[in-house]
Symmetry: C2
Subunit: 249 residues, 2 copies
């Protein structure tokens, strides 16, 4: 039975404070729920409509499943419109700081928009970038809107949140590329074997803290007149060119 | 004075039917309003707060300007949150069918999401693609959410809506690239001097009508596991690679 306490718990998890207090988060939607139940993450409960449960029975062998009505899903949803399935999930262990000398790593410098972070997680998964390092001011990856925008890629990308001082200590002697409005064209840049690609916040660009560590500025050449590209769009274009360069090495 | 009739007219223009009936549309936000008042489009009236009018006085020499309160802007807005300025604008003349033999042209095959169309208009402006041809089923470019997402690029990109039969008759002997999950890698493709890049709808991809005309399928190679890329993201990545190839020719 769906208790009032469970409804209250789930609804509280829209806020980071309660996700941290309870060490739990909510994933909504068929794509992400089916990804999570097949991952090694600990699912406390899957809450879904009878039709959904029936359709996905084969995947739900290890989890506690509670069948709920459409009306109850409307009460539970943390998004603007409910989906037929929702999972209450234990927070995975914090991702470790990656070995920055072995491969390219993304570094997000205070990205605030959940849609942008979710899109960037999906991009990293598409282009096979294993790790996105997040500043403490970057939007929480377990925010329901980030999870929605990541379209199921959340379980496949490591997302360590790292204190900047610790990160930059760890990043000594690594090539550090800052995405910038002016700099070396990504069309012409020579790709080192490993490095860090830094993406600045939507409103302020790269922080002075990050700027101080950049070894290069990399830009997407503008041919026309638009003032800027969105942070997630710029990331996608840069990842694609860098992936191509890696293949051609 | 802001009359009830004017409020009613502006609010009605959130719907395509009333935009067509009145041959008018509404542009909201500082960026797009300042672009439009400096373009050759006919502005019926700029409605803005006193502070905004004072700040932008130098630009407002040719237009009728009505100062309104914040509260009135809340009544007028067609978006989820009001901006300090809004322009009531005559629809520009329909854009002509472009000369497809001279340059690359984008063709959007039933893109339904206003955010995606707005983002693609901004991308075309960034990469200097002059024309985006739209199918009649594609979301109207004068939809308020498209205008918002286009971030001021609306005045700089031609956006003809064309009956598919007319378009494909006109496109004979032109290379036609369909963006697809499988096909020639954009990293390896050789770029003809001119052609048409077709982007399919968010849910159905390219229609069979368009598929029948494609001379090539072009893909963004996937290295990881994400299921897909969003239509606007795929467009941005393709435009960037094609722009680079053009430069290197």
């Amino acid at each position: 039975m769906l208790t009032k306490a469970r409804i209250k718990l789930i609804r509280s998890l829209r806020l980071k404070k309660y996700r941290q207090q309870n060490n739990l988060f909510v994933a909504e939607g068929t794509k992400i729920v089916t990804e999570i139940v097949q991952s090694d993450w600990s699912v406390v409960q899957v809450l879904a409509t009878a039709a959904w449960v029936q359709q996905h029975e084969a995947l739900l062998t290890r989890q506690e499943v509670l069948t709920v009505s459409d009306k109850q899903m409307q009460q539970l949803t943390l998004l603007s419109s409910p989906s037929p399935a929702l999972a209450l999930v234990e927070m995975p262990d914090p991702a470790p700081l990656p070995d920055l000398t072995r491969q390219w790593t993304l570094y997000l410098d205070d990205i605030r928009d959940p849609g942008n972070l979710g899109t960037i997680i999906r991009l990293a998964d598409w282009f096979g970038w294993p790790t996105i390092c997040l500043t403490p001011e970057t939007v929480d990856p377990f925010n329901p809107k980030v999870i929605q925008a990541s379209m199921g890629s959340l379980t496949r990308v490591e997302l360590p949140t790292i204190d900047p001082d610790t990160f930059w200590d760890h990043a000594k002697d690594i090539p550090i590329w800052g995405a910038h409005m002016e700099g070396t064209s990504i069309y012409d840049a020579t790709l080192p074997q490993a490095g860090i690609l830094c993406i600045g916040s939507e409103s302020h660009g790269l922080s002075s803290h990050v700027e101080a560590h950049c070894t290069d500025h990399i830009t997407i050449p503008r041919q026309g007149h638009a003032e800027s590209l969105n942070a997630a769009m710029a990331t996608g274009i840069l990842l694609s060119h860098m992936t191509m360069k890696k293949q051609n090495q």
